[in-house]
């Protein structure tokens, strides 16, 4: 039954919105009502993976509407690939005091 267990594990990972991380992905953790790092500099084409570590849900919502996550429960993740250079500001739409910036070069 080994293959079944493996199948269940894959299913759970996918249900939680998790994907195998690429070495090139950049992580932003959400903890204690803050994005960390709050200011991030990346190269065009980089994928950013946010993970919510708080017991309270958070979102990632770009100010100008270019990207927006669903509400992330604890340990849920959201990923977005930044293909074009620019300065991207985003907030948590549930707790809009939470703000951060990603600069793509």
């Amino acid at each position: 039954m080994k293959s079944n267990f493996f199948g269940v594990a894959l299913l759970l990972a996918s249900a939680a919105g998790l994907h195998p991380a690429n070495a090139a992905d950049v992580a932003v953790n959400i903890k204690n009502f803050d994005y960390s790092p709050m200011d991030l500099n990346i190269a065009a084409g980089t994928t950013v993976v946010w993970k919510n570590l708080d017991g309270e849900p958070h979102t990632i919502a770009s100010i100008d509407g270019q990207f927006r996550s669903q509400a992330l429960d604890q340990d849920d993740s959201f990923r977005f690939t930044f293909d074009h250079p620019g300065v991207y500001k985003y907030i948590c739409s549930i707790h809009p005091k939470m703000k951060a910036t990603i600069t793509v070069k």
């Binding site: 204690n32 009502f33 708080d54 017991g55 309270e56 849900p57 979102t59 919502a61 927006r68 669903q70 509400a71 429960d73 604890q74 739409s93 549930i94 707790h95 809009p96 005091k97």
Partner: protein, 301 residues
């Protein structure tokens, strides 16, 4: 329900550690629930808030159970209120399944009407499609509306879809103009009840516990002789009286939150299981005279 559990439920809502607040002509007084219980007036309406269906973390792994216990207590009361208001965060993550479960549970309440305003947890999809599909009808999908019941004017406001840059809730220009219109020309002697999810006055700005246009809203309400402003959002009771206006926030039926500024942010507060029922509950508004409106908070303890 057995006789014993009914009695227990009655005990919950009737003799809990409640304080009865009365507001009459701007004079504010508080006295012990146990003394006031016998001659309490007619239940006018009930406020339930922050049911957070879908939440399942340590602060309360069984939010369905605590909502059910709350509803059992309401249904076991000797006299039912005419209707109930839900001041938002019906769900935890705005998911369709969470809304469906919440609707199913809330429909058990023995009240003829349920008026619901959204919390920020109910509209995390942006436009609030799931929320408005279920609760948008009363307002033509605007979310804000008013109605009269038993001589009282009720105003439902939405302050979670138009955040200010400082994180406070906001009505936005259209809704504020609508509110001004709605209140204009009404007799100052008509009691007014205003309800929204986030506090309509600033309780704690660093956590966004307030509404940006709070002062403008209050200025529209000051000429009325009896105003009650009800909110949820902060999962604990905070109140203040300003002139003839009583501001009051309700408990959650799901989990408590820390008091303002305690800890890193306004997230779920984990307390010893024995303490949880004492931190969850509802608010009942009763009427003991022509204009007197009183609020009674009761817990599940």
């Amino acid at each position: 329900m057995t006789d014993t559990s009914r009695r227990d439920a009655l005990k919950c809502l009737g003799v809990g550690a409640g304080t009865l607040f009365t507001l009459s002509g701007g004079v504010f007084s508080a006295f012990d629930m146990a003394q006031a219980r016998e001659d309490m007036g007619t239940p006018l309406f009930l406020q339930i808030s922050d049911t957070h269906i879908g939440f399942n973390k340590n602060a309360n792994p069984d939010v369905i159970g605590t909502l059910n216990a709350t509803i059992d207590s309401i249904n076991a009361m000797p006299r039912q209120p005419a209707f109930a208001i839900h001041t938002g965060d019906v769900t935890h993550l705005s998911k369709a399944g969470e809304f469906d479960t919440a609707n199913q549970l809330l429909s058990r309440m023995k009240v003829s009407e349920l008026h619901v305003v959204p919390g920020e947890h109910d509209v995390t999809d942006g436009p609030g499609a799931e929320f408005f599909a279920r609760f948008g009808k009363a307002s033509g999908n605007k979310g804000y509306y008013s109605f009269d019941s038993q001589g009282v004017h009720f105003v439902a406001l939405v302050n979670v879809m138009n955040f200010k840059p400082n994180g406070l809730g906001a009505l936005g220009e259209d809704q504020l103009a609508w509110l001004k219109d709605d209140l204009a020309g009404r007799s100052a002697s008509q009691p007014v009840v205003v309800f929204a999810h986030m506090p309509l006055w600033t309780i704690y700005e660093p956590w966004g516990w307030g509404t940006g246009e709070g002062e403008q809203i209050a200025s529209l309400l000051r000429r009325f002789g009896s105003v009650t402003v009800l909110n949820g959002h902060i999962h604990q009771i905070v109140q203040k009286v300003e002139g003839n206006i009583l501001f009051h926030t309700a408990r959650s039926t799901a989990y408590p939150q820390p008091s303002a500024g305690t800890g890193p942010g306004p997230g779920p507060l984990v307390v010893p299981p024995a303490q949880l029922p004492g931190m969850l509950g509802v608010t009942m508004a009763v009427r003991d005279g022509k204009r007197r409106l009183s609020l009674t908070d009761s817990t599940l303890a």
